[in-house]
């Protein structure tokens, strides 16, 4: 038994860390979230990620990718979270290749996978209703080859060539964002490093319908990878708070020497650290198909969401007043954690799914779900 990262995986994290550190240094990210110069994320950062092969992480080598697994994608996502890298990842790097690999036919795979791997085909992901539940009358219907209805949130939509969405029956489709009958409503996401839009369909014709079923696999992978992003963002906030607690003096000594401040730091570090092993296990479980893959994916996202939120809160408190200013930039990670905690299912929703998966909540919730159908 060897429950640790391989040398290759440690090297992968180091390489991505160095590349991303140059690509999106903190001053540049801060300027981006302030001014919203979209091209920085959709052009500069994306081209940089392409140059180190990130879009092809999950694409098989035969199709021009790196042929790596969900654990590797999670490790890269952790670095993306650490640097709060703006732009697309969850849609084009995680959801799209998995959907086409697991649910696409040979022709679709041959056509799309090489372009995904080289980064020339960017695919947004819109599966809110499946992962976060249906709000109001949202929901996509595919009737006679035409899409109707709406989906609450398409993620990584800026610069996307296609959108991956699912109809109420779980059928996966790819549709062009500029296709007739697609209306895009840009959303004001609190985390400016990510972008999302609400989509309405009125008779839009999909580019492709994927014949297979991959929704569960995509959902689990997205949640584990996003949990890793939260891990990275939270660990960055802890590092910043600890560094500040060592140099900030009040009452004639570093604030980190006061137990009140020291324990804020210890609490968030102690809460986050077991989450690292949980993310590793959940990601590995997807890769090798362990029996608890579905359950651990839910718990990884639920646990990291709450642990990261605690880190965001405590790290901000350790900084005192300066912590809430725009200038310091701590808020970049706080907001990334805020949005990430809710995206693809918030902690309470995920635990509800964990309960149903284990056969609990038999009467109350299942009846409610059935009535809603």
């Amino acid at each position: 038994m060897d429950f640790a990262l391989s040398d290759d995986q440690i090297l992968l994290q180091d390489q991505v860390d160095r590349a991303v550190g140059e690509l999106a240094p903190v001053e540049r990210v801060a300027a981006y979230v302030r001014d919203g110069d979209r091209a920085f994320a959709t052009e500069n950062v994306w081209q940089g990620l392409c140059s180190i092969g990130v879009p092809g992480l999950l694409v098989p080598e035969a199709s021009g990718g790196l042929g790596l697994g969900i654990l590797d994608a999670a490790l890269v996502a952790e670095i993306m979270g650490r640097h709060a890298v703006p732009g697309a990842f969850l849609g084009p790097v995680v959801a799209a290749p998995l959907a086409i690999l697991r649910a696409g036919d040979a022709e679709q795979q041959a056509e799309l996978l090489p372009r995904i791997a080289e980064g020339s085909l960017r695919i947004a992901v819109a599966v809110s209703e499946q992962l976060s539940g249906t709000r109001g009358d949202a929901g996509v219907r595919l009737v006679d080859g035409r899409l109707s209805g709406s989906t609450q949130m398409a993620v990584d939509i800026a610069g996307a060539d296609l959108i991956l969405t699912a109809d109420h029956a779980g059928r996966l489709v790819l549709v062009r964002p500029d296709a007739p009958g697609v209306t895009r409503l840009a959303l004001n996401v609190v985390d400016r490093t990510r972008d999302a839009a609400c989509l309405e369909f009125s008779g839009a014709r999909p580019e492709m319908i994927l014949p297979g079923n991959a929704l569960a696999a995509i959902g689990a992978a997205l949640r584990v990878v996003l949990a890793a992003d939260l891990l990275g963002a939270a660990s960055r906030m802890i590092d910043m708070a600890v560094a500040y607690a060592k140099i900030r003096n009040q009452f004639g000594r570093p604030i980190g020497s006061f137990q009140a401040v020291k324990h804020l730091c210890a609490d968030m570090a102690a809460e986050l650290e077991p989450g690292r092993a949980l993310v590793w296990y959940a990601a590995h479980a997807q890769d090798v198909g362990l029996p608890d893959a579905a359950l651990t994916a839910l718990y990884a996202k639920a646990y990291l969401g709450e642990a990261a939120r605690l880190a965001a809160r405590n790290a901000t408190e350790v900084h005192g007043g300066i912590g809430i200013t725009e200038e310091l930039g701590l808020h970049i990670w706080l907001k990334r954690i805020s949005f990430g905690t809710q995206l693809f299912g918030g902690p309470t929703r995920l635990r509800e799914e964990a309960a149903i998966l284990q056969g609990y909540l038999g009467t109350s919730v299942a009846c409610g779900r059935a009535a809603a159908e």
Partner: protein, 402 residues
């Protein structure tokens, strides 16, 4: 990452399973409160002869003399837990004193004390804490004064488990009142509990049981040779012992087993005709704890791998006592809530469930958060040694010179 076991490890697991199946009738029904029962001692002897406990302790000291193998130790722990069979005697003599003696004792001391301790013939208690020296252990006042070839001990110890049945105490005692600092004044002494001048008083806790004792020393005479290590070196030696104690606490498989028991309880308990596990508000609470218990289990797997590779992920290890004891207390708290008014009953009796174990654990687990270094001391350790935050400046008061 590879969660599979080697063929040798699988074979060892099979061997252990077969042993447990073949010897199920020899598992002692009672281990004894203060002293091991004859059945418990026989079981211990059997396990040592099989190489299942005292694994790495040399044969000449009564151990099994095996090569260290963390994976074998883990397989043993898992299989014995699954079979609900005790993996040998668990006491402070075996878990704390023996490792310390192996590291710091003389050859004569090792030969005299390790074998009878391992085999349950000699029972030890720990004399560290005092009424005025808890978290600030180095301020302890129990003194040993030289008198010819002997030490004369006066003072008081507290939180002493099994003091009533113990043959011997390993204790921290101030032997050098004029040492340059308070740490260098402490020695690690061995005190026979039948020495004249020792009085043991049971200390009843809120669970209603006397889990601890107070021990009073009035002119207790021991030979000066009853010292482990050098005079004034007791603080350093004790810290290596405390490290063993903290490593001992918090088995994550045990937390998941408790979650299983809690889920069973919530499936069994109904209010207004609905099982508690089917009520969303109640279910969310147990799912939260299940997620935490899983995180702790995988965290332990990570630490296990690190230990096999000889790595020391220090922060990751430091958090275990804090998080594991907190989790256990939260599990007991939810169980008491699940039982409602019945959760407020104590012990066995009308209406009680599982002989009142949940209320007892609710109280006992609070003690575990405090014992072996309080949660607040753990947070200081995590902050200072794990994160590198500065220590709190000490008051320059009398008796607190560093």
């Amino acid at each position: 990452m590879d969660l599979s076991y080697t063929p040798q490890q699988d074979a060892f697991r099979e061997e252990v399973r077969k042993f447990l199946a073949d010897h199920a009738d020899q598992v002692p029904p009672h281990f004894g409160v203060n002293r091991p029962t004859p059945e418990a001692r026989a079981w211990q002897g059997l396990l040592i002869s099989r190489g299942y406990v005292a694994r790495t302790i040399p044969v000449e000291y009564g151990g099994s003399g095996q090569e260290p193998d963390i994976m074998k130790a883990q397989i043993l722990a898992e299989e014995f837990a699954a079979a609900r069979a005790p993996l040998g005697l668990v006491n402070q003599g075996i878990s704390m004193f023996v490792p310390t003696l192996l590291e710091h004792g003389t050859e004569e001391q090792k030969r005299a004390w390790i074998a009878p301790t391992l085999h349950g013939e000699m029972v030890w208690c720990q004399g560290y804490s005092e009424p005025e020296a808890g978290s600030d252990l180095a301020s302890l006042k129990t003194s040993a004064r030289e008198d010819g070839d002997d030490f004369i001990i006066n003072g008081q110890k507290i939180w002493t488990t099994t003091a009533h049945g113990a043959d011997m105490m390993f204790a921290l005692v101030r032997t050098e009142p004029h040492a340059p600092n308070r740490y260098l004044g402490i020695s690690y002494l061995i005190i026979p509990m039948d020495s004249p001048g020792i009085e043991v008083r049971p200390l009843r806790t809120m669970t209603g049981e006397a889990e601890f004792n107070e021990v009073f020393f009035t002119d207790v005479r021991i030979p000066q040779t009853n010292i482990v290590g050098a005079r004034g070196d007791g603080w350093r030696i004790a810290n290596s012992t405390l490290k063993h104690e903290r490593g001992m606490l918090g088995d994550p498989n045990a937390a998941l087993a408790r979650i299983r028991n809690l889920l069973n309880l919530m499936e069994a308990e109904s209010v207004d005709g609905v099982r508690l596990i089917d009520m969303p508000v109640w279910c969310d609470r147990v799912m939260t704890l299940q997620g935490r218990a899983m995180a702790m289990k995988f965290h332990a797997m990570r630490l296990l791998t690190a230990a096999v590779k000889g790595e020391e992920p220090s922060l990751a290890r430091m958090i275990v006592k804090l998080k594991a004891t907190e989790l256990n207390h939260q599990i007991a708290t939810l169980a008491v809530d699940v039982l409602g008014e019945v959760g407020g009953l104590m012990g066995d009796g009308p209406l009680s469930r599982d002989r009142g174990v949940w209320q007892k654990r609710f109280m006992f687990d609070l003690g575990m958060i405090i014992g072996g270094g309080t949660a607040q001391i753990q947070k200081n350790i995590i902050g200072e040694r794990g994160l590198g935050l500065p220590r709190e400046p000490r008051l320059q008061a009398a008796g607190h010179n560093r």
